[in-house]
């Protein structure tokens, strides 16, 4: 990276910020903006994308990314760069419940292959796919830092550890 200590600048600021998102979303983004120096609003780009993704049912659109750029006075390309670099941003619907299954070394050693097989058989989908009713999506993720409870998966904000096929059934049955 080149050495730059100033934020990426935008030729023309978007003035009508109140037309973006909803008031609630703007307030949520503002709590993040307040954490960084005034000239570094772009530091809130990642949390802002997360907030609007959650608001939009779990995925981003070009329009939403553009609005984040408008809101934070960033060039749209800078927002696209961030949105395409990090794995937690989705660019297509991933279902009401995105099942993030870890298959990295510790989970693999402890049987994540069997868990994957079980989920595949139960839901009829593979990685990157969504059930026809839109209830579940399945995603392969890299180590989520819970190897002591391998095999594990994350759905929403919750970690589920020491998975067995029976436990997976219980968890999925409990989700609408």
């Amino acid at each position: 990276m080149s050495l730059r200590s100033e934020p990426m600048v935008r030729a023309q600021k978007f003035e009508d910020k109140e037309s973006l998102f909803t008031r609630e979303v703007r307030e949520q983004i503002d709590t993040w903006v307040a954490k960084y120096p005034a000239e570094w609003k772009q530091s809130a780009c990642m949390p802002a994308l997360t907030i609007v993704q959650d608001m939009n049912g779990g995925y981003l659109t070009r329009d939403l990314m553009d609005q984040v750029a408008d809101y934070l006075d960033m060039p749209p390309i800078a927002v696209y760069e961030v949105a395409s670099f990090y794995s937690m941003y989705e660019h297509k619907p991933m279902g009401r419940h995105k099942i993030c299954l870890c298959t990295n070394v510790s989970c693999m050693i402890c049987g994540s292959d069997n868990i994957l097989e079980h989920i595949r058989n139960r839901l009829g989908i593979g990685f990157g796919e969504v059930t026809p009713d839109g209830r579940f999506g399945l995603k392969e993720v890299e180590c989520l830092g819970a190897c002591g409870g391998a095999p594990m998966m994350q759905i929403g904000h919750t970690y589920y550890e020491n998975l067995t096929p029976e436990l997976v059934d219980q968890i999925l049955d409990g989700l609408e």
Partner: protein
């Protein structure tokens, strides 16, 4: 001696609460410093004397890092915490954030005082929602108790801590990638020098330390550098959290003195599941060279002992494998990980990680060629030392070591088109 520092509150009910932490001597170090107006250089000297080395994986001496900051430079300086725990096999920082967040807060405050900073950012990986909430609660508790914020305990020293959430990228555990990410960009590592001590967050002097590193600091100040250093062995001061995972009976985090024999650690984790043989161990997270079980049985868990047998202590993530594991398959998964996580900035890493993965994948799937093992060695050698950050080396080292120690297994796959396990 178990759970003495970062896990000191673990035996208590609700170990994450402020009152619990204080009942175990928490915030006494900070109060002492503020009351006595301890000179900044004395604190830095104390951390140097303690032998504390960066717990995130690189093992760089912490006091030395703090000493690089020009404390008299005008303008902002920052403390940044690396809680972007993502090295496969590592899950210790998650538990510090969940069970002893105040130790981290006190560590950040002491660091901030020592380098003359007034703001700290804790960069927590985005998947860690529960740890994030726990840490935020602790920040609120500390603030309400007057231990954090403007004019702490009427001392004239003020400090703010903010939490930042990542969004899924292993590379952001690399310190300069993390700073880029905190500035709202793609997490691509910066070329060094200049180092973060000179040019860090927002171009300002910055100390960036791992969660466990900073959470160890309060006890160094409170109980003394000698006390801490002597828990460990020469050049590996203090206790360390080891995240033990894989085919063991009780996987989990164990905070034990550096220099503990591996065999003893394995026993603490309940030994091998079903009494199987320990075939291989990755002693410091997936980026470090693998070692055969029989070599590990004679090793102690400290920087020098593990280096002597050709691997590294890394983040202290000990992945234990029994003889039901195919080493080709394990390496294939590790290679895929680095291919997936390479940021794409440097050609040897961007291209090399994919190349290595594809070759290992074809060996695993029975279409390997005789020349593949030499090819893998060659590609790995050509990545080593030729990239901006250590991810390239981290991708290359496992490949070379798996082939070195388990060449027979790879050769069998190529010759017989199937697995010998």
């Amino acid at each position: 001696m178990v759970n003495e520092v970062c896990f000191r509150t673990l035996h208590c009910d609700r170990p994450w609460r402020l009152e619990t932490y204080q009942s175990e001597g928490g915030y006494e170090a900070l109060k002492m410093i503020l009351a006595e107006k301890t000179p900044q250089e004395d604190i830095i000297e104390m951390v140097k004397q303690s032998g504390l080395r960066g717990r995130g994986g690189a093992g760089f001496p912490t006091g030395l890092k703090w000493g690089f900051i020009n404390r008299t430079a005008p303008g902002e300086k920052y403390v940044v915490v690396n809680s972007d725990e993502g090295e496969p096999g590592t899950f210790k920082d998650r538990d510090i954030l969940r069970y002893n967040p105040h130790a981290l807060i006190e560590g950040i405050l002491i660091c901030g005082y020592a380098i003359g900073a007034a703001t700290g950012y804790n960069y927590i990986r985005g998947e860690f929602w529960e740890p994030y909430e726990r840490f935020e609660e602790a920040v609120t508790e500390a603030r309400e108790a007057g231990l954090l914020g403007d004019n702490i305990l009427d001392s004239g020293f003020g400090f703010q801590i903010h939490t930042h959430l990542g969004s899924g990228a292993y590379i952001c555990g690399e310190e300069t990638a993390l700073l880029e990410s905190l500035e709202g960009k793609k997490g691509q590592p910066r070329f060094k020098p200049p180092f973060p001590a000179m040019f860090g967050l927002y171009g300002r002097p910055t100390v960036i330390n791992n969660t466990e590193t900073l959470a160890s600091v309060p006890d160094i100040v409170r109980r003394g550098a000698d006390w801490f250093r002597e828990i460990g062995v020469p050049n590996s001061g203090g206790p360390k959290l080891f995240s033990v995972s894989g085919n063991v009976v009780r996987p989990g985090n164990y905070e034990v003195p550096m220099g503990i024999p591996f065999a003893e650690l394995l026993e603490m984790a309940g030994g091998m599941r079903e009494g199987k043989r320990c075939k291989a161990v990755i002693p410091g997270g997936s980026s470090v060279p693998v070692l055969p079980g029989e070599i590990m049985m004679d090793v102690t868990m400290d920087y020098e002992s593990i280096e002597k047998v050709g691997s590294m202590l890394g983040s202290g993530a000990v992945i234990v494998m029994d003889d039901s594991n195919c080493m080709v398959k394990v390496l294939e998964r590790i290679a895929y990980f680095y291919y997936e996580e390479s940021c794409g900035q440097c050609t040897p890493c961007r291209e090399g990680t994919g190349w290595m993965y594809r070759v290992i994948h074809r060996i695993e799937n029975g279409t390997g060629r005789q020349e593949d093992l030499d090819l893998l060695d060659d590609v790995a050698k050509k990545i080593m030392g030729r990239t901006i950050c250590a991810l390239g080396d981290a991708a290359a080292m496992p490949v070379a070591s798996f082939i070195q120690h388990f060449r027979d297994e790879f050769q069998y796959h190529i010759d017989h088109k199937k697995c010998m396990v």
